[in-house]
Symmetry: C3
Subunit: 154 residues, 3 copies
Amino acid sequence: MSQVEANLKRLGIILPGVPTPVAAYVPYVMADHLVFVSGQLPFQDGQLRFIGKIPTTLSMENGQEAAKLALINALAVLHSACAGAWSKVDSVVRLGVFVQCGDDFTQQSTVANGASNLLLEIFGPAGRHARAAVGVNALPLGAAVEVELVARLK
Amino acid sequence: MSQVEANLKRLGIILPGVPTPVAAYVPYVMADHLVFVSGQLPFQDGQLRFIGKIPTTLSMENGQEAAKLALINALAVLHSACAGAWSKVDSVVRLGVFVQCGDDFTQQSTVANGASNLLLEIFGPAGRHARAAVGVNALPLGAAVEVELVARLK
Amino acid sequence: MSQVEANLKRLGIILPGVPTPVAAYVPYVMADHLVFVSGQLPFQDGQLRFIGKIPTTLSMENGQEAAKLALINALAVLHSACAGAWSKVDSVVRLGVFVQCGDDFTQQSTVANGASNLLLEIFGPAGRHARAAVGVNALPLGAAVEVELVARLK
C-alpha cells in the first residue's frame, strides 16, 4: 500500500467514483506532465452536501467541510488520471478555491484551508501547492465551494 | 481544408479578427506547448453583444449565446497563436468560464455548455477540456460571460 | 545589475520579504519551466493597504494601486522562486486579477492595468502576459484586489 493510500485509510476517506461527464467537458485533461482537474463541488454519495452562502446559510465549519469534500472529489479524478497509481503523482501544483459567500465575508482563506490541510495530510510535502482563494456570489447548483486542481505527474 | 475549418464552415462561424491589445497584456502567451489565451468577452463585429446579469437582465439562452460568442473570440486568438494552422492544435486543455449573475443563480454549468459544446463540435475528441465554471457579481464592460482558454499545441 | 533590477530601482520599488506561509499552501510551486505564484493581496510593510469594494469604499485609483501592490508581492515571490536571479525569468505567462467590486462595476480591466502596466515597465517585452480580470463580491481579509501569476523560467 502506498503512503498516500495509507493516509487516505487513516483519515477514513473513501474516494468516490469519478462522475460521468454530463457535458462536453471532462473530469481532467493531461498536457505533458500536468493534469488539469475540472472544478469539483462538494458531492457525497451522489448528493450535493453543502448548498448556500457562508456565513449566512452555512457556517465557517460547513465551508471547511465543503472545501474538503470538493477536494476529495478532485482527488478521485486525479486518482483516475494516474490510473490508480498514486506513485505517479509528483506533486500538487495549484488549487483554485471559489467560496460562495456574502458580500462582507473575508475568511475565504480559512475556508480553503479545509482543502489545503487535507492535501498536506495526504501527500506530505508533495501536497504543498500554490493557491488562489476568492469569494463569489454564486456557484453551480448553489454549491458552497468549488475546487479546481492542477497536479504534476512523474 | 482541415476538419476544424470544415466544422467552422458547417456551423456558419466566421472567426473575428484578433483585437489589438489595448493594454500591457496580450491576447495569448505560449509557454512550451501550452497556449494561454486571455479572458475573452462576447464581442461581435466590434460590439459587446451580451451585457448584464443572468437571469435578471439576460435569459439563460442569452447566457449560452454569450458563452459561445466569447469562445469564438478565444478561438480567433488560438488560430493566430498557431499561425492559422489548426493542425497544430493538439487539444484544448482548460476552459475557465465566469458568468455574471444574480446571487441566487445556480445554472452556471448550463451557461458554460454554450462554449463547451461548441468546442466539441469544432474539434471533436481533441476539444474535450477540463473546466471551471463559476458565478461572479460583475465583469469587465458589464459582459455577461468571460471565457479563458488553455490549449496544447503539437 | 540586471535590467529588471535597474527598472525596479528606477521605479522606486523595493520588494517585500516573501511572507511565511500561514497554511498548507506555499507562495509558489514549480512544475517544469512554469512557476505558479499563489494569489497575492495588496500588503505593504505587513499591512493590508487596500480593503473594500471599488468604486464604493475605494476609488478606481485606489484599485489600480492595490493591483500594483499585489503584483509587487507576487514579484517578490517570483524573485525567490528564481533564487534572486531575475535573468532566470523567461517571461510572464498569465495574470489572474480578481477585483472586489460592487454589482454594477464594469472597469475591472482598468483596475487590472495597474498590475499589467507595471509588468511591462519592469520586464519589457518579456512582461507581456495573458490575463483574466474579473469582478468578485468578496476577497480574503476584505482585500480590494487579488493577483495570481504564472511565469516561465529558462
